[in-house]
Amino acid sequence: MALDKFQIAQRIARELQDGFYVNLGIGIPTLVANYIPEGMEVVLQSENGLLGMGPFPEEGKEDADLINAGKQTITTLPGSAFFDSAMSFGMIRSGKINLTVLGAMEVSQDGDIANWKIPGKMVKGMGGAMDLVASAKNIIVAMMHTNPKGESKLLPECSLPLTGKRCVKKIVTELAVLEIKDGAFHLLERAPGVSVEEIKEKTAGKLTVEGQIPEMIF
C-alpha cells in the first residue's frame, strides 16, 4: 500500500530531532507539525516572520495580523518570537534553521529541485523557496513519486525551471524514502507492501538499491 499524505508527513516527522528549528512548506509539509513526537522540542519557523508557530486558532479567535506563510490564520506558543522578513531569511541563510521540508514538481538525481514555475501555464512565483533551498543545511522533499499523468518526478535532470541546484538531500514519497548522493537516488525504505520493482519502474533517474530494503512501519 502506498502511503497517504498523512503517513508521508508521519514518516518525515521521524527525521526531527530535539531542539530543531524547522521550516515547513505549504501542503504535505505543513502536516508534519501534527506528528512531532511527544516530549520533543521542535520550533516551527514561518518565513513571514514567526518562530514558534502554534496550531490553528479556535473558532472566533482568529486574528488577521497573525498568519503563516500559507496565509492561514495561526496562533503563537509560549516562547514565540516575531521578526521582520529580512531577519527571517537571515536566520535561514545563516544556517540557523536545521531542517526545511518542502514540496516539489521535479527533483533530479543530483539534488536539483523545480517547484515554482511551469512555463506558459503557471507563473505564481518562487516566494521563499529559492532562499530556503539555497541555504538550508538539510532539505527533505515531500512529494508524490509521479505526476498526475503517471510520469516520474524523480529524474536524471529537471525539465522545469529550477528553484535550486544540488540542494535536496532526502525525498519521501508515497512509495519510498530516498537519499540523494553521488548523482543517484539511493533507496532507503519502501512503503508497506510496495515492491522495489515498482519503485524502480517509477523512478526515471538513476536508482541505487543496495541489499534488502526495509519496509516502513506505521
Binding site: 514561518s46 518565513e47 513571514n48 516572520g49 514567526l50 496550531p55 490553528f56 486558532p57 479556535e58 473558532e59 472566533g60 479567535k61 482568529e62 486574528d63 488577521a64 495580523d65 497573525l66 498568519i67 503563516n68 506563510a69 500559507g70 496565509k71 492561514q72 490564520t73 495561526i74 503563537t76 516575531f82 521578526f83 521582520d84 522578513s85 529580512a86 527571517s88 531569511f89 537571515g90 535561514i92 541563510r93 536539483d112 507563473v123 505564481k124 512565483g125 518562487m126 516566494g127 521563499g128 523557496a129 529559492m130 532562499d131 539555497a134 541555504s135 525551471p161 529550477l162 528553484t163 535550486g164 541546484k165 544540488r166
Partner: protein
C-alpha cells in the same frame, strides 16, 4: 510636527505618475489599506510597485491592478490574483519575480545605505541570468542591488507623532524594511499617539525613517485563508 497628516489623501497627494512605490505586507496581512485606497481614488498611473504579493482580485494591490495603474510589479509570489495573471500573460503588465529573501534584503540594504548584497538564492536558476556571481568560501552568490524607491507605504499598529512605529504580530513582515528603504516613507497606523507614549524599548522603526504619518481608518483586515479548529 510636520510629519503628521490628517488622512491618506493628504499624505499621498504629491505622488506623481511613474513613481516607484514600496508597499508593505505579506499577502493581505499588514498592507497599507488606506494608502492603496487613496492611490486608487487619485488614479496615479504607470506605477512600479515593489511588494511581496499583488493582493487578491478585489483587495490590496489587486485594486490598483484592476484600474490598470500598475506598469510593473516586483514581487516574490503572485499566486492569488487572477486579474494579475491575465495581465501578465497578455503582456499588459511587466513582472519581475524575485526570491522573497532577496526582496527583503534589497529593502534592508537600501535602508542601511549599502548599494548591494550577495545572496545564494537563485544561483543556477533563471533568476541568476545576467547577474554577477561571486564565490565566497567555496559557495556561489549572486550580486543583487539595493532598491531605489521614491515612496514606501507602510502600515503599523501604533505610531507616535515623531514617526516611531510599532508593528503587531506577523503584520510586521516587510513593513519596517520598506519604511527604511524609500526616499519618502508614509506610515499609516491604527493608533497615532502623542510623543512620549510609546516605550522606546519597544519601537521597531525609529521615526528618522518616517517622513509622513497618519492614523488610518476603517481597516478591513481581510483574512485570506481562514483556518480554525473546533472549540
Amino acid at each position: 510636527m510636520k510629519k503628521i497628516f490628517d488622512n491618506a489623501e493628504q499624505a499621498l497627494a504629491d505622488i506623481p505618475d511613474g513613481s516607484t512605490i514600496m508597499l508593505g505586507g505579506f499577502g493581505l496581512c499588514g498592507i497599507p489599506e488606506n494608502g492603496i485606497a487613496a492611490l486608487v481614488k487619485k488614479g496615479t498611473k504607470e506605477l512600479t510597485c515593489i511588494s511581496n504579493n499583488a493582493g487578491v482580485d478585489d483587495f490590496g494591490i489587486g485594486l490598483l491592478l484592476k484600474q490598470h495603474q500598475v506598469k510593473k510589479m516586483i514581487s516574490s509570489y503572485v499566486g492569488e490574483n487572477a486579474e494579475f495573471e491575465r495581465q501578465l500573460l497578455s503582456g499588459e503588465l511587466e513582472v519581475e519575480l524575485i526570491p522573497q529573501g532577496t526582496l527583503a534584503t534589497r529593502c534592508m540594504a537600501a535602508g542601511y545605505g549599502m548599494p548591494a548584497i550577495f545572496t545564494p538564492a537563485g544561483v543556477g536558476t533563471e533568476v541568476a541570468e545576467g547577474k554577477e556571481v561571486r564565490n565566497f568560501n567555496g559557495k556561489d552568490y549572486l550580486l543583487e542591488y539595493a532598491f531605489d524607491a521614491d515612496f514606501a507605504l507602510v502600515k503599523a499598529w501604533k505610531g507616535d507623532t515623531q514617526g516611531n512605529l510599532i508593528f503587531k504580530d506577523t503584520a510586521r513582515n516587510f513593513n519596517p524594511l520598506m519604511a527604511m528603504a524609500a526616499k519618502i516613507t508614509i506610515a499609516e497606523v491604527e493608533e497615532l499617539v502623542p510623543v512620549g507614549e510609546l516605550d522606546p524599548n519597544q519601537v521597531h522603526t525609529a521615526g528618522v525613517y518616517v517622513q509622513r504619518i497618519f492614523e488610518g481608518k476603517n481597516y478591513e483586515k481581510r483574512i485570506e485563508q481562514l483556518t480554525v479548529r473546533k472549540k
